[in-house]
Symmetry: C2
Subunit: 229 residues, 2 copies
């Protein structure tokens, strides 16, 4: 992966005038694959299943995408075809907050995207468009461009990390600490046990974990800006 993906993501899709015209298209394949992933999970995206949905033969797909792995990369980048989540605000903090929440929303809408995002890959046109846009907006409101880049990266890092527990299930904590039902385990993990005692304010903390963490990251950036100035 890594290197060879460049051609795939950035190469142009040729549309020859000669020869048999294409019924399928890379666009349609990627869109249908995304529909499957959204509805049934990335695991259910097989070339066979995909071909059935498209009403075509399995091997026909290979005329439009090099292979399964590459298809997944295309699926991911196509998520960022639309407008980036940049709020109409004039303060960097609000812009980054909106950006972070937008990215979170993306992963919540397309849970399969997280595993793609956290795999080794190179940046595609969609992602580049989005990143370029935020950075442009941040510099427009006065943020130095190097700081803008690293701030976006930092926020993204936090968001990707923080989104995982959300995807694990709404119940969250209940299953997360399931083992603490056993008294022996409460003795083995006394601190975790404290947190699940009746009366502990953990529920609130866990529920708002994303918001809390994001604000802390923004606080940290703010302090850095104040200190540097």
């Amino acid at each position: 992966m890594g290197t060879g993906d460049y051609e795939l993501l950035w190469g142009e899709v040729s549309r020859p005038s000669r020869g048999r015209p294409a019924g399928l298209s890379r666009e349609r394949i990627v869109a249908e694959a995304r529909a499957i992933a959204d509805a049934e999970g990335l695991q259910k995206v097989s070339m066979k299943h995909l071909a059935e949905r498209l009403g075509s033969g399995v091997m026909s797909l290979y005329r439009h995408v090099p292979g399964k792995d590459e298809l997944v990369l295309l699926m991911y980048d196509s998520l960022m075809t639309g407008p980036p989540p940049i709020p109409e605000a004039d303060h960097w903090r609000e812009i980054l907050r909106g950006w972070g929440q937008g990215v979170r929303g993306l992963f919540n809408t397309h849970p399969w995207a997280l595993s793609v995002a956290t795999s080794e890959r190179s940046m595609g046109p969609g992602e580049a468009t989005w990143v370029d846009a935020v950075i442009g907006r941040l510099t427009a409101v006065g943020m130095p461009i190097e700081l803008a880049l690293i701030s976006v990266l930092t926020v993204d890092c936090f968001v990707m990390g923080a989104v995982r527990p959300e995807l694990a299930g709404d119940s969250g904590e209940a299953e997360f600490f399931q083992f603490l039902a056993d008294p022996a385990m409460r003795a083995r993990f006394p601190n975790l046990a404290l947190l699940t005692q009746p009366g502990a304010a953990t529920d609130v903390a866990m529920g708002d974990h994303f918001e809390f963490g994001l604000e802390r990251v923004l606080d940290g950036l703010e302090r850095h800006i104040e200190t540097s100035a």
Copy 2:
């Protein structure tokens, strides 16, 4: 996954006195699988390859682990069998910094672990031990326990997000912005183009991205503590 893993991770490994004694053991299988993953990547961990390494038949493995997916979970949790990365410090900030760096080191030593960590899963005994330990240490130096938990979660989120680009390759930036070699692309992404201009201080920023981000997160937590007090 998710729910059914509980028994696997927390259930006791029976050692019956009757019947034929086991030559293989779950422990040995997991250890060998980890060795393969460390050396050749998680993708190369197949039941066949693993069995060859262990000098056993493929199906013998299934007497000790339920299946491949479960094996991977066991591999991950076994990473946290040793002592947690908690520095001998008395200030929460140093403790969390050391913890964050330690977790980062874990993922750098075992790159395959990141994809497991970012998949949906439940907490195993190893991870529980580590988390219990940090939280205990943080409360010991005066941090409220709810804050300790959410701070650890926040740091973990950042670390997991920030570690990915590191694993992608040492070159990092060069390949990351490969498409910007094309003048047409520099026009299409003007802000990213600025960042790769000769003279831009991006190299430094990207290189220290982890350290920078971690300090920002810690700054954010510090401000929150000051404000709350």
